[in-house]
């Protein structure tokens, strides 16, 4: 049985993100980037401006700080690692084609190992997994009947007519793993001619997560199971046909 249930999964990007409590200084960031260089041959500096919403009383308002982070990537640009000083974070991304969970998580554990050896322990305040899916529907009709493909969509009175565009955003608890699910779904233009598309963006994260590696890995794997459950619940069989399920 293939690890991936579909021949053409609609995943456009998969992300594992770790957010830390305290800012990361530039010396540490430089050290980590250098240690990760063998895994990511391409290195770009990210320059950003932070505008804090939560201001400390002792600091003047508004406050802007320029910070540099790193965008590390593979030569084909499908494997990306973002290191940011503020918000202090390590974010690993995989663009399509999605290689399957084993490879994706395997890369994360390798990167995390390099991080820990370079930086040591830093308090983690959030662990999250995010999958962005785009479902391309072949149709010449400007109106797409979302209920044929999705189980997540806004409900409006029929007398108002079919929707041409929408966006749904919701947050729910996933109690069994103590996480918050942020679910975004919307109609988007498809990059394919003669198609329309829906995005299902699933972000599952845990604040105050475990701090040791084994527990973090276990949490991420449990989030993955939950993410799959959420995704399968959000789509219909008609959508599944588009991804070409492996026949058992």
């Amino acid at each position: 049985m293939p690890e991936q249930p579909y021949k053409r999964p609609p995943i456009t990007e998969a992300v594992i993100g770790i957010r830390f409590a305290d800012p990361i200084d530039s010396v540490t960031l430089d050290k980590v980037a250098a240690a990760l260089k063998p895994l990511y041959p391409r290195e770009d500096i990210l320059r950003g401006i932070q505008i804090p919403f939560n201001l400390t009383p002792t600091l003047p308002s508004p406050q802007t700080i320029e910070q540099a982070g790193y965008r590390l990537s593979s030569l084909d640009q499908t494997q990306i690692l973002i290191l940011m000083p503020i918000p202090p974070s390590l974010t690993m991304s995989q663009l399509a084609p999605y290689p399957g969970w084993d490879q994706f998580f395997g890369r994360f554990s390798k990167d995390w190992g390099v991080w820990k050896r370079s930086v040591g322990y830093r308090k983690i305040i959030r662990v999250g997994v995010r999958y962005i899916n785009r479902i391309d529907i072949p149709t010449a009709d400007p109106v797409v009947y979302e209920e044929e493909f999705l189980n997540v969509y806004p409900h409006i009175p029929e007398v108002l007519g079919p929707m041409m565009q929408y966006a749904v955003q919701t947050q729910l608890q996933i109690r069994d793993i103590g996480c918050i699910l942020t679910l975004n779904s919307s109609v988007v233009p498809s990059p394919l001619i003669g198609h329309r598309a829906f995005v299902i963006d699933i972000d599952i994260g845990k604040d105050s997560p475990p701090q040791n590696d084994d527990a973090i890995y276990e949490l991420i794997n449990r989030i993955r199971v939950a993410k799959n459950r959420v995704f399968e619940t959000c789509i219909t069989d008609r959508a599944r046909e588009l991804f070409e399920p492996w026949l058992e």
């Binding site: 990007e13 770009d44 950003g48 804090p52 084909d76 940011m84 995010r130 955003q169 003669g194």
Partner: protein
């Protein structure tokens, strides 16, 4: 929660942008809008790009070429689920070869995102079994060429979803070919080519040419 602007360059060339909305004026409405915006997921890491500090003509050539290649490879990721893995890998090899700094012509432009977006739409619409040979115009438009014996099909991918193509078919007894050309929106490419039996170039069986 702190907000961070990191110059996101979200690739929107594969589709139109969201139309702007009217701004609200009341504080309560704006607070509601802020809470709703808080539900939105942040830009994905794949969409974050560094903004070059130097203008393109001030950047070292290798950096300029790499940035252009990176941009189109990220674009390809948006449709990679619809591409054969080997097809994609060889496409990247061809693109890398086209942007070899050792072969670069001074003053030329690397492949533009807009042209490449048109190329992706065309390829996913036409779905040729045979990959084309690739070239690059001086202004950065990707050019795809299929050759079957002496017969040639050439398509240039222009910005804003436009394509222009010309094909030449030689009859055995004639030295001069019959030439046909078109200049259309990419959505009309299949229709434009269909009277000329494009399978003559696109099918696996059509691979029959002599390298020079």
């Amino acid at each position: 929660m702190a907000g961070v602007v990191v110059n996101p360059q979200i690739p929107t060339v594969l589709g139109p942008s969201v139309p702007p909305r009217l701004e609200a004026f009341s504080a309560e409405t704006n607070e509601i809008a802020r809470l709703v915006a808080g539900l939105r997921n942040e830009p994905s890491p794949g969409s974050l790009r560094s903004t070059p500090r130097l203008a393109p003509d001030e950047q070292p050539l290798e950096a300029r070429l790499f940035d252009a290649l990176a941009a189109v490879k990220i674009l390809t990721a948006q449709v990679a689920m619809h591409l054969d893995g080997e097809w994609r890998r060889k496409l990247f090899g061809q693109l890398d070869s086209l942007h070899d700094p050792e072969e670069w012509e001074s003053g030329a432009e690397p492949v533009t995102q807009s042209s490449f977006a048109t190329f992706l739409k065309a390829i996913l619409s036409v779905r040729p079994k045979r990959r084309p040979g690739l070239g690059l115009s001086h202004s950065g438009n990707l050019i795809a060429a299929w050759t079957t014996r002496r017969d040639r099909l050439t398509i240039e991918f222009l910005p804003n979803d436009r394509v222009r193509w010309v094909l030449a078919r030689y009859r055995d007894t004639e030295e001069e070919p019959a030439r046909y050309a078109g200049h259309t929106h990419v959505s009309e490419l299949v229709e434009g080519l269909s009277p000329h039996h494009p399978e003559h170039w696109f099918s696996d069986a059509s691979k029959n040419h002599e390298p020079s």
